[in-house]
């Protein structure tokens, strides 16, 4: 158990450092959310409700975390294929979930860059005051948000590992999750059937936790608890899927295909 925990922790640290030196990952997480934050600022400024600008900042931050998780988790597996180490990692005595899980958590963890960049961008360029009602709770909500989004990426990566061109799937989940989890758009504006789907997705609860802490609305601790519950669910589901898809990849000899 201790060895597994150590492996997971070292994996997170290693991949976090590795991704921090990857221009694409850093750009995706720091600059890409600024694009959407900027568009949201202009749209809400030109529209009717300028008080939602801080909400837009937080929403763009969570968008950045999901973006880097979905795109980079898929891309990292592909990179390991190109480097020829994916087969070795699968063949290693350590369970493969303990190798894959840190990659996706590290991908979402570099989302902290998006938190800093987006909030600073809003403050410096658009003059949005960073006044949080419960700053400590806001800070407390960040780790469970990141971990739960990373674990959602783990579920996705568990399926992707089976396919040679899984990297291409990453982008496909970017907009749909942004749309249905209420990051910039209130879920009430979407068709009613979307809301139950949003409950199953970690960005919904992460966003609620952060915004409830920032504006003292709702109960951020319930949202944090939901992030933790979903984290456990994602870990179990992801591990089960990974077992299945890994077996399929071994049987069809697709692991090393580039």
């Amino acid at each position: 158990m201790t060895r597994l925990a150590r492996l997971v922790w070292l994996g997170v640290v290693f991949h976090f450092r590795h991704l921090s030196r990857n221009a694409f990952a850093v750009m995706t997480t720091t600059i890409w959310p600024l694009v959407y934050a900027t568009l949201a600022y202009f749209m809400f400024r030109a529209g009717s409700d300028p008080e939602t600008l801080l909400f837009a900042s937080i929403g763009a931050t969570v968008m950045g975390i999901w973006s880097v998780t979905t795109v980079d988790a898929a891309d990292t597996i592909q990179r390991q294929r190109w480097l020829g180490v994916l087969e070795l990692l699968v063949a290693a005595p350590a369970p493969f979930w303990a190798v894959l899980l840190p990659i996706t958590i590290a991908s979402s963890a570099i989302g902290v860059y998006s938190l800093v960049s987006t909030l600073l961008w809003g403050r410096l360029v658009f003059g949005i005051p960073l006044e949080f009602e419960q700053p400590l709770v806001f800070a407390l909500a960040i780790p469970p948000t990141i971990v739960s989004i990373g674990l959602l990426g783990f579920v996705m990566a568990s399926v992707i590992v089976r396919f040679r061109a899984g990297w291409a799937v990453g982008n496909m989940f970017e907009y749909p999750v942004w749309l249905v989890t209420g990051l910039l758009i209130p879920i009430a504006l979407l068709p009613a059937w979307v809301e139950p789907i949003s409950w199953l997705l970690a960005p919904t609860w992460g966003m609620r936790a952060l915004s409830d802490a920032a504006f003292a609305g709702g109960s951020p601790f319930v949202d944090i608890a939901m992030c933790l519950v979903l984290s456990v669910v994602y870990t179990v589901v992801g591990s089960m899927l990974l077992g299945r898809f890994l077996e399929s990849a071994r049987r069809r000899a697709t692991l090393s295909l580039t």
Binding site: A23, L39, F42, M43, D49, A168, L179, P186
Partner: protein
């Protein structure tokens, strides 16, 4: 004749090999799903901001989405050759560079039009956007103009990949600039003056304006000037792209960076 063969057959083969020989079953959804959701995302964001109508976002985003293949497929046409270790052979060949790279841009332009059209049709159906059947041909023409200018911009920025290893970062930035500056989601009048001035020299801006006029009932004569400007901007980027390709090929040969992955 040889140049035509290089352009057509070479372009077709290169397109087939794009994105690591991605299977059509996966390639097609990547061209349909994210664009459709981009249209829906901004239409709903527009509703939340109470800024413009759904038609504004459906037309603007579907035309801007011509830049998706225009930028990423063009840059990958060179990056993919490098990754497959065929770039040096390609550039060592005596084939005309104009035929090589224009050939690679033809399928990209066709895909650009299809991406624009499919995202418009899906977006209009889902959001119940009304459109008179008569305006569709003119709208497709504006999409074609945008696909041409975006592919030309893609060629210009793909040239940089002869010098830079990881161009995806740059492609994303250029795509973002088009999304913010060109009046796709925020009317040009609501943007700061310097941004709308820059937008006048970018692809997409004039096509989006022409597209919005087309769906509101304008004729070809009404939007002819806008389309001509969009095409002229495309021609300027095309010439710039060919010049940059020539320059960066020379630099990459001199500095032996062609095969760096």
């Amino acid at each position: 004749m040889t140049a035509l063969r290089v352009a057509l057959l070479g372009g077709l083969l290169s397109f087939r090999g794009l994105f690591s020989w991605l299977h059509p079953a996966l390639f097609v959804p990547t061209l349909i799903v994210p664009p459709l959701f981009q249209v829906l995302f901004f239409a709903y964001l527009g509703r939340a901001a109470e800024l413009e109508t759904d038609t504004f976002y459906v037309v603007g985003n579907s035309i801007q989405l011509a830049a998706l293949p225009g930028l990423f497929a063009m840059s990958h046409a060179i990056a993919g050759e490098r990754r497959s270790h065929t770039l040096a052979h390609l550039l060592a060949s005596p084939a005309s560079r104009v035929a090589l790279f224009l050939g690679r841009s033809l399928p990209v332009m066709a895909i650009g039009i299809l991406v624009s059209l499919s995202s418009f049709v899906f977006g209009a159906l889902v959001l119940d956007v009304e459109l008179s059947p008569g305006s569709l041909p003119l709208l497709v023409l504006t999409m074609a103009a945008a696909a041409f200018s975006c592919t030309a911009l893609g060629l210009a920025h793909a040239a940089v990949s002869l010098r830079v290893r990881e161009l995806a970062v740059f492609s994303n930035l250029v795509f973002a600039v088009l999304l913010i500056f060109c009046g796709v989601n925020v009317p040009l009048d609501d943007l700061p003056g310097w941004m709308s001035t820059i937008a006048q020299g970018l692809p997409v801006t004039h096509a989006v304006e022409a597209g919005r006029e087309a769906v509101s009932g304008a004729t070809l004569a009404d939007v002819g000037g806008l389309l001509a400007t969009e095409l002229a901007i495309g021609c300027a980027y095309l010439l710039l792209g060919l010049a940059l390709l020539r320059y960066y090929e020379h630099v990459a040969r001199r500095q032996a960076t062609l095969e760096l992955t």
